[in-house]
């Protein structure tokens, strides 16, 4: 694969994905908005991270940053390393060399994410040819194998089908096949099942989970569904107004949330642990990113808010083995040795 020829050295000890202090700012003549703010995390080989948060909290932008897939108005600061490769420093040609091969993405809307005037087979084979440089026939054979891998019935016939000829579920399976076509080590899935019918959602999720385990890919998942998060992820990160407000192992975060926003999110969504409980939406509405409060972004909606919350943005502080939360309540940040979030330590 082409990315193996990338000039940057590959340190095997380094985590597969390492994001340090990533911020993304959209600049236009009339306004400048920072939509992802100081996000740091790492991901090891085979690990699955789930991003949770209300819409507009910056999940999609965070994901797309990993492949620099944002419009030219986006400005990145911080550092993104995928298998040791400094993504933000890559030239256009090198970048397209890792897109689709080292890291690939499954989009939310299978209806619009596939080119309507090319067949499924053509779209997959094109990717295979781009990265593996094989013949047309070999690429087509690989496309067929991939359709079978994602369990599309009568795969041979579907190879020559256009996206509009497939149902939503099959289309998303085709999208998954496309994403897997060059054996990526990192898979990004942005709400991969949100656009599908409920019954189809489960099938596609189960497929994704088994593929992720079978192929040993590191995965970052965006979802609204806490149940999905529990099923698929090893770790979760809760985003609010462009920041990670809580981050840790799934079991820790979902059973004893340390941040009031996480708590609110747990109460406002249906999921296995709390079935039968009352749903309580979080009061207030998501903040305007262009006019954030001076302190904690969640403070205006927080039931525990006090004066100290308005003093400044609380740092991510440790709450237990690898669990971090950005809240002064119950944190040890007032004590002498305030643990500051460290990307390596969170592992």
């Amino acid at each position: 694969m082409t990315h193996e020829n990338a000039p940057l050295p590959v340190e095997s000890a380094a985590p597969l994905v390492s994001v340090e202090n990533l911020s993304v700012t959209f600049r236009s003549p009339d306004k400048t908005v920072t939509v992802v703010n100081d996000v740091s995390f790492t991901l090891r080989e085979g690990e699955a991270l789930c991003l949770l948060g209300e819409s507009g909290s910056g999940k999609t932008v965070t994901m797309r940053s990993l492949m620099r897939l944002l419009p030219p108005t986006a400005h990145y600061t911080g550092r993104i390393r995928l298998r040791g490769i400094d993504v933000l420093a890559l030239k256009a040609g090198q970048l397209s060399g890792i897109r689709g091969s080292l890291v690939s993405m499954i989009f939310q809307e299978p209806m619009t994410a596939l080119d309507p005037v090319f067949t499924i087979g053509q779209q997959i084979a094109e990717t295979v040819r781009r990265h593996d440089g094989v013949s047309h026939a070999a690429a087509r054979t690989r496309a067929l194998d991939l359709l079978e891998l994602v369990q599309i019935p009568s795969a041979r016939r579907r190879l020559d089908a256009y996206p509009f000829e497939l149902s939503g579920g099959l289309r998303q399976r085709a999208m998954i096949a496309l994403a897997l076509s060059c054996r990526p080590r990192i898979l990004l899935a942005d709400e991969p099942t949100t656009a599908l019918d409920a019954t189809v959602q489960i099938q596609v999720l189960l497929l994704l989970r088994s593929l992720q385990r079978e192929l040993g890919m590191s995965t970052i998942f965006v979802t609204h569904d806490l149940g999905v998060a529990c099923e698929v992820a090893d770790r979760v990160a809760i985003m609010y107004a462009g920041r990670f407000v809580e981050h840790g192992a799934v079991d820790d975060v979902l059973t004893h949330a340390a941040h009031p926003y996480t708590e609110g999110l747990l109460h406002s969504t249906v999921h296995a642990e709390r079935q039968g409980g009352r749903l309580e939406p979080i009061a207030g509405s998501p903040p305007d990113l262009a006019a954030l409060p001076p302190g904690c972004s969640f403070e205006p909606r927080c039931v525990f808010a006090r004066a100290a919350c308005r003093a400044g943005m609380p740092p991510l502080s440790e709450r237990g083995a690898g669990q971090l939360a950005r809240c002064i309540r119950g944190s040890s940040i007032h004590e002498a040795s305030a643990p500051v979030y460290d990307a390596e330590a969170s592992l």
């Binding site: 897939l69 690939s104 005037v117 781009r130």
Partner: protein
């Protein structure tokens, strides 16, 4: 696909019949009794009757239509009132001449329009885009006969580098593929191409920038394709729209270039129509309109079929 093509061809039959009916009725809708055109004002009634019978005007309309149609399908469109030559021998060479200049104009318009339209669509919002949009908007608004006269004044009268009128040296009225004849095509082709080029540029710009905003473009970049390969996808998605515009513009050029052909004395269908209208030569008018209308129908058919070649979704309809 093949079924779609067959079905689409079958659709043409009723349209073609409709066209023939309209063309047939043309003579009867025109003011005055048809024979008036050929008769002196003070013709005796016997002579009027004689002419009516000779042209078949004394029979009921459906009979006249059936009779007319049976001749038309064998290529017999009657005789010109002015020249007494067969309508076919007047109309076909003229339509061919129009096709020649229209083809040259369309190729030119396509080249310029697609190039600048795509550039503008890729650079949408920039200075380049705005400059192209400004020029294109001007191009659409400029009357082509005025442009034709300006071109003649500048390049033929003042600079004397290109011939002003006609189709070839010595008033030749048929096309020959040589440098000397090509020189006669330059000015009329440019005059005819400006409008379509501007329209093509505008719609290619719109289509391209619209397609580039679609989600699947992200997917293409996400799978590691470079800009050239992505352009291929943009182009295939834009092709049906472009084809529709080419079809419309070709049809428009064939019939709508009366003024430009007159200015350049280009012996085409427009030129022929122009003189037929002024001399009330109804058989010529009828024949020319019928042939041109059939060209429109055929162009539409070709465009529709080609469109489905690029966009499979259109095959369903």
């Amino acid at each position: 696909m093949i079924f779609y093509v067959i079905r689409r061809i079958l659709y043409v039959i009723p349209i073609a019949i409709g066209v023939t009916i309209v063309c047939f009725m043309l003579i009867h809708l025109a003011p005055g009794d048809p024979p008036d055109a050929v008769l002196p004002d003070n013709a005796p009634p016997e002579m009027v009757e004689e002419v009516r019978a000779a042209y078949g005007f004394d029979k009921p309309l459906p009979v006249q239509y059936a009779y007319w149609l049976s001749r038309v399908v064998t290529g017999d469109f009657g005789r010109s009132i002015m020249t007494q030559r067969s309508v076919a021998s007047e109309v076909f060479p003229a339509v061919l001449n129009s096709l020649t200049i229209a083809a040259a104009a369309i190729v030119l318009a396509l080249f310029v329009g697609v190039l600048f339209g795509a550039l503008s669509g890729y650079r949408s919002g920039t200075l380049t885009d705005r400059a192209i949009t400004f020029v294109a908007t001007t191009g659409i608004s400029v009357p082509h006969y005025w442009l034709a006269m300006v071109l003649i004044i500048v390049f033929a009268v003042n600079m004397r580098i290109l011939p002003a009128t006609g189709m070839g040296p010595g008033g030749s009225s048929g096309f020959a593929f040589n440098l000397e004849n090509l020189r006669y095509m330059v000015l009329p082709a440019i005059a005819l191409a400006v409008g379509p080029a501007a329209i093509i540029a505008r719609s290619v710009r719109g289509t391209v920038s619209e397609i580039r905003k679609q989600d699947f473009i992200q997917t293409l970049y996400a799978k590691g394709l470079g800009p050239t390969r992505v352009f291929l996808h943009v182009a295939k998605n834009a092709a049906p729209t472009l084809l529709a515009i080419i079809g419309l513009q070709t049809a428009h050029l064939l019939g709508g270039s009366i003024l430009v052909e007159t200015v350049f004395s280009w012996p085409g269908a427009g030129f022929l129509l122009h003189s037929a209208i002024f001399s009330r030569d109804l058989p010529i008018l009828q024949g020319a309109v019928l042939v041109l209308a059939m060209f429109f129908v055929a162009t539409n058919l070709v465009v529709d079929v080609l469109q489905t070649f690029f966009d499979p979704r259109l095959r369903r309809g």
